[in-house]
Symmetry: C2
Subunit: 123 residues, 2 copies
Amino acid sequence: MSSALKSDDVRYECPVDAVLRLLMGPWTTYILYVLRTQGPRRFGELKREVGGISAKVLTERLRMLEEARLVHRDYQATIPPQVTYSLAPRGAELNPMLDALKDIALRWQSEDAQTSRPRQAAE
Amino acid sequence: MSSALKSDDVRYECPVDAVLRLLMGPWTTYILYVLRTQGPRRFGELKREVGGISAKVLTERLRMLEEARLVHRDYQATIPPQVTYSLAPRGAELNPMLDALKDIALRWQSEDAQTSRPRQAAE
DNA sequence: TAAAGTAGGTACTTAAAAGTAACCACGATG
DNA sequence: CATCGTGGTTACTTTTAAGTACCTACTTTA
């Protein structure tokens, strides 16, 4: 955030902001989307399916989501190691909210396509 | 986002991400919250009630929200000028979603307070 | 006459986030 | 013997966002 943000900053008292902060990053919702729709995935699979994300950022996001208990990390110390990520119960709790958000987003998108882009159909 | 992001980037096809991008910033949800609970507010009032935000960032956020049609800007060219911001219909559409999100956030917060902070009650 | 309030805009600086590239151990494969 | 794939980590660089400070033009107030 900012240098002016202390730990007692008033904004940290807002739990809504705290949850939005988790979903914020460029790739976060895509990771959750893949786990939601494709089921549990290994690190490499996830990286390939999210497409374009670097290992560093994927690791960061997964650690963050794991700490927030939205995803579960299963580490098997085989050789080569096998690490599987899956949606934790808390991650599933977000489903209704994300579905509602998706409905709104789709509706707005189609509304905007009609009003702000008359170049396609007109003429 | 990143230098690798072109205009045809796959992520821009995700409408959920587009909406989350609106709510993301450090202050955005607070601005919407004030407008939601306190009703229409003038620029100066908003700045005072959001507490700590700079005029620059508040302007940025309001322009962004206005462009997304979440808030409505009413400009009266009096002297001094009187600019009033209010929640647009689209802003109100987010209410159920934000309420659901708030429920989840509050629940998680109280759950976390019990498990990860036994220093308060224990001993 | 000088300050304060109105609603911002502009320039500059700083801090955080993201990206890139190289590297690790280990075993199997070619 | 060198490379690939596993699941990352580390160091370095670049980009972006946010913050700070100062400015406008006009009126009212002290």
